[in-house]
């Protein structure tokens, strides 16, 4: 039986849940999909528990040219650290250590 027939087949009782998942992937991705290596949180690796807003060396790499906060999907930072980082950047902006906007 070919799985390319999709949904109808996946409802049949003789097929396990793992087959259903595979079918769903095929339908959406349409063949081979990219699997990138998992990015890792640099703050976790360096065991940084508190991000000081005055520490420009620490948060500098997370400020692209434009002056925005580098998104998590690019940097791979974990959620708790990204939260800390974001608030540190916002504080640094108020203290004129970082710009609000750059053109």
């Amino acid at each position: 039986m070919s799985s390319s027939r999709g949904r109808e087949d996946s409802r049949r009782e003789d097929r396990g849940p793992q087959d259903r998942d595979r079918d769903r992937d095929r339908e959406r991705g349409g063949g081979r999909r990219f699997v990138r290596a998992r990015k890792s949180c640099k703050f976790c690796a360096d065991r940084i528990d508190y991000i000081d807003y005055k520490d420009m060396r620490l948060i500098g790499p997370y400020i692209p040219e434009r002056g925005k906060v580098l998104p998590r999907r690019i940097s791979g930072t974990c959620a708790p650290h990204q939260r800390m980082l974001a608030s540190a950047i916002k504080r640094a902006r108020n203290a004129a250590l970082l710009p609000f906007l750059t053109d």
């Binding site: 528990d49 508190y50 504080r91 902006r93 108020n94 203290a95 004129a96 970082l98 710009p99 609000f100």
Partner: protein
């Protein structure tokens, strides 16, 4: 007891002696209100990321203050009326520091967990003394 970090930027045309006087003045305000100034950090003259009152650089000072929280209102009020201070920012840091401390002790306990059980009692004692030292 709460720990606060008060950063303020003094206008660049204020003389060195006057900067010193300003720092003393605000430390005094804090102590008069019943708080304790634990650290005075002069970051020195820095370029501002954007102009404030048309100044391009400023003299940064950070005070670390321990108190109940009501002192901060008074200090901030005075900073607002002081013309030499072009920007001030106070944040509460004790909760964040406590959280960081918790992670650190947990990690320390975790890395030591693999060792012999004989060290268990001494480890507990060491952890306790560590906590006392930090606080």
């Amino acid at each position: 007891m709460r720990v606060y970090e008060i950063l303020f930027i003094i206008s660049p045309n204020v003389e060195e002696t006057d900067v010193e006087a300003l720092i003393n003045q605000f430390s005094e305000v804090a102590t008069n209100q019943g708080a304790r100034v634990t650290k005075v950090d002069r970051m020195g003259r820095r370029r501002l990321a954007y102009p404030i009152q048309k100044f391009k650089d400023g003299q940064y000072v950070v005070l670390t203050v321990e108190g109940t929280g009501s002192e901060i209102a008074e200090i901030e009020r005075r900073m607002r009326v002081t013309d030499a201070i072009i920007r001030h920012l106070s944040i509460r840091i004790d909760e964040d520091l406590k959280r960081a401390e918790k992670f650190r002790t947990r990690r320390a306990a975790h890395s030591r967990a693999g060792r012999a059980a004989a060290a268990l009692s001494s480890r507990a004692a060491a952890d306790e003394s560590n906590v006392e030292e930090e606080e």
